[in-house]
Symmetry: C2
Subunit: 157 residues, 2 copies
């Protein structure tokens, strides 16, 4: 089954949205990863849940986890403040969270290999006409959708 047939819609935020909306989307919908589109509707970033959490942790704590135990609750309220007044694009640097994508003809094994190697549970399917630079988002394939496909193929075999 080609990527175009596996691709599904997926909740997203855009680069201009408030950063807090992105955090809320992941939190409220229990999403495996956050999908960020630019204002043209093209994938700007895909951020796995563990890395969205990482964006809220101060750099000095990431570098020295022992500090986390000490400063903890005192600064918990300051964490969400890092989001306040920022857009998604300001909060999530594009080069750190480059989206994975495949063309509409990519097969399931190819998508699975891309996903597993990058440790990212979401691959965007982007269609591009010849000569067209940016393309168009067909949908995304999640790890769960891929597993549904593999299981269905196994049932038929």
């Amino acid at each position: 089954m080609p990527a175009r047939d596996l691709a599904e819609p997926y909740p997203h935020v855009t680069t201009d949205d408030p950063a807090v909306d992105a955090a809320r989307l992941l939190a409220e919908q229990n999403l495996p990863a956050l999908l960020v589109l630019d204002t043209d509707g093209i994938p700007y970033a895909v951020v796995p849940g563990s890395q969205v959490v990482g964006q809220v942790v101060p750099e000095y704590v990431m570098e020295d986890p022992l500090l986390a135990a000490v400063i903890d609750e005192r600064h918990a309220d300051a964490l969400a403040e890092g989001l306040a007044g920022r857009t998604v694009a300001e909060w999530l640097p594009r080069r750190t969270f480059k989206p994975l994508y495949v063309g509409p003809d990519a097969g399931v094994l190819q998508i699975a290999a891309v996903m597993a190697r990058a440790h990212v549970p979401l691959v965007a399917v982007v269609e591009r006409d010849s000569g067209e630079e940016r393309g168009r988002l067909v949908g995304v394939v999640t790890a769960a959708a891929l597993m549904r496909h593999f299981l269905a193929a196994g049932d038929q075999a």
Copy 2:
């Protein structure tokens, strides 16, 4: 807020269950990661969705993604066969997918740092009485649950 108060129940399979049940649980519930408990109810493995997918991809494809485009559909039905007749423990090697865990007194920043560093969206909270070797699973903290906590703390600030 300590880990014991953030910990929640989470769907799981056990090491003796059929591997196909584990694949199905992730697929049907759109889980960010698979939680595997041993027969004593202690975390045996935590496998992010992207790595569950990786377990279905043949080793030679992971090593040479160009192959994926070639062999694709012909072997799609063989993929799910790798699951047939195996238990979860046989399918998912423990040492590859060691669960992350913290004690019940760990704070939110500590959990967040553990999660972000390991790129795993689920941390188990395990309580151990002194002298007790194995402990008891209190619950798990997901990336989404942590973000809900940070956002709530921000609203109150």
